[in-house]
């Protein structure tokens, strides 16, 4: 009997757990340890954040699903990994602190034979003074509850506009090293759509503040999109949309501090600026969740499992090298820790070898460059591959991970909603293949032009709606869920 423990029940962790449970015979245990009792389909938080969707529509309670599927569920937050065990606990195990309200808070030890770290990010609002909804002055859509608060604050701003008061709304990135620019882009245009819907667009100054040096970078060094008979850089494609909707853009910005009504930021030219705001939704930078690792004698071996960023080291090439020397083969394909062979990490939890966007610093040395995105579709794809590899090794069908799922060989579809409503909704539908550009296979653009395209229209909004319902259907493990592709 093998025991597979999965830390986290987000898109990656939940996918891994369901695939493993479906693949492994019942004598093997699949156990999920997650601090939250529910799954959150994060891409739809954007609609919650503008008040067009109820929070309940984007969350799914996990316990009933796991009980039905035969997956063990422990509602707890993992804090330590003991990959070699110790004299009192001979096998590998993790330590977790229960998070069920009202329950005992004494740490529990959970033994494992195989471990998948899918803990996602720690939201580092603390990296920028004044950032974030908890003790700061800005809002976020990173979690379902943050999105609900953002919608309330946005509605208050809209009511002030209805009373004739001009408002400045700032959406974007709260630090120079943030990732998930696509989410901020999406929220910007949903807010813009809502302002028009409420008839107050003329009273709003809408500003997109980002660490991207160019519009359309999205943390993937931009794209060259096949569109309208041209190879169009995503900076032009996105820039056109900003111009059309009269959204101002502040590019190459590192937010230094946020005060009530004022954002202080530095730009890539090293100049300090200030931006006034009445409503701001700024995403935080991410790090790993801060798990510690200990050896058999209790010694700290965190550096064998985790990079300084807190993300898990996997089979990537972490050798520091300049942008010109980056290669697609630097990116991991099995997501297995090189020291502890029964430990894997997927989704945001794995440490990328380097960014995808070219690194940039201001003359003062401030890093202002997007971190690589690895959420949504890519995280689910790698989770499935890792789950199937582990199942193969448990069942004796393989001795090594045989399925390779590198972001340098994987595409991504990004459907950025730009307004909800079945008939009036709009979205920017973009796909790229692969995520990590390969300038050897595709000289010039680095990506396959047949599958790197984008367009704007109501059809994109319908796709976004279909994805919402399809992935929540899958998350609920309804009949034939496994037929829904990642």
């Amino acid at each position: 009997m093998a025991r597979v423990v999965i830390l986290g029940a987000g898109i990656a962790g939940h996918t891994a757990a369901m695939v493993l449970r479906r693949t492994l015979p019942k004598e093997h245990v699949v156990c999920v340890v997650s601090p939250k009792p529910y799954y959150n389909w994060i891409p739809s938080n954007i609609w919650v954040g503008v008040g067009r969707m109820a929070r309940e529509k984007v969350v799914v309670p996990l316990a009933p699903i796991y009980a039905r599927l035969g997956i063990e569920f422990i509602q707890a937050s993992a804090t330590e990994i003991h990959p070699a065990g110790n004299p009192n606990h001979p096998g590998p195990y993790i330590v977790a602190t229960p998070t069920t309200p009202g329950a005992a808070t004494e740490s529990v030890e959970v033994a494992y034979d195989w471990l998948i770290n899918a803990t996602g990010p720690k939201l580092r609002f603390d990296r920028t003074p004044g950032l974030g909804p908890d003790g700061g002055h800005t809002h976020s859509v990173c979690t379902d509850r943050h999105a609900v608060d953002a919608a309330t604050a946005l509605d208050a701003a809209i009511q002030r506009m209805k009373a004739g008061e001009r408002q400045t709304l700032v959406v974007g990135m709260g630090h120079g090293t943030c990732t998930c620019e696509g989410a901020a882009f999406e929220y910007t245009f949903n807010v813009e759509h809502e302002l028009r819907r409420h008839g107050v667009r003329d009273l709003a100054d809408l500003v997109y503040l980002t660490n991207e040096a160019e519009l359309g970078d999205f943390g993937v060094d931009g794209l060259v999109i096949r569109n309208g008979g041209f190879h169009t850089p995503s900076s032009v494609f996105a820039g056109s949309f900003f111009a059309e909707r009269s959204v101002q853009a502040i590019l190459g910005a590192h937010v230094q501090a946020i005060e009530p009504g004022l954002i202080r930021y530095e730009t890539l030219d090293g100049v300090d600026h200030e931006q006034r705001y009445d409503f701001a939704m700024l995403l935080p930078p991410f790090t790993g969740v801060g798990l510690k690792a200990f050896g058999a004698q209790g010694e700290d071996i965190t550096d064998t499992l985790f990079a300084p960023s807190g993300f898990t080291k996997v089979d990537a090439d972490y050798t520091p090298k300049p942008y010109e020397a980056w290669k697609p083969t630097d990116w991991p394909s099995t997501y297995r820790n090189p020291t502890w062979k029964n430990v894997f990490a997927v989704g945001i939890a794995f440490a990328p070898p380097h960014p995808i966007s070219r690194p940039r610093t201001s003359p003062r040395g401030t890093v202002i460059s997007p971190a690589p995105p690895r959420t949504g579709m890519p995280s689910a794809s790698m989770a499935r591959a890792v789950a199937e590899n582990i199942a193969d090794m448990i069942l004796g069908r393989a001795t090594e991970p045989e399925r390779l799922s590198s972001m340098a060989n994987m595409g991504a579809a990004c459907v950025a909603s730009a307004g909800s409503g079945f008939w009036a909704g709009n979205a920017v539908a973009m796909t790229m293949f692969p995520i990590v550009p390969d300038y050897t296979r595709w000289p010039g653009a680095g990506r396959d032009e047949r599958f790197t395209f984008g367009e704007v229209g109501t059809a994109g909004h319908w796709i976004k709606l279909v994805l919402h319902h399809l992935f929540l259907y899958k998350a609920r493990a309804k009949p034939f869920w496994w037929m829904v592709p990642e």
């Binding site: 500003v207 040096a213 160019e214 519009l215 032009v236 820039g239 056109s240 900003f242 111009a243 059309e244 909707r245 009269s246 101002q248 853009a249 502040i250 590019l251 190459g252 730009t267 890539l268 030219d269 100049v271 600026h273 931006q275 089979d315 099995t334 297995r336 090189p338 579709m377 794809s381 499935r384 591959a385 199937e388 090594e400 399925r403 390779l404 799922s405 060989n409 994987m410 595409g411 579809a413 008939w423 009036a424 709009n426 539908a429 796909t431 293949f433 692969p434 599958f451 395209f453 367009e455 704007v456 229209g457 109501t458 059809a459 994109g460 319908w462 796709i463 279909v466 592709p485 990642e486």
Partner: protein
Amino acid sequence: MTTKDTPMTTQTYVAKITVPTPTATTLWMRGFLPWQLWRFVWLNLKMLRMISLSHPTRRDPSAPKAP
């Protein structure tokens, strides 16, 4: 609602970007249902093809095993 004269930035790092903006016909087509239904089908097919290309590949049996 073309705003060709609207400044693109509020600061000077990218002082000015000249970008194409959609014509009235393009904007109309973005909401024209028969055209959007066709684009819905076409985009889905393209995405499915891209997803199929993204499926994990099998390790080359002749490749050296990881250390």
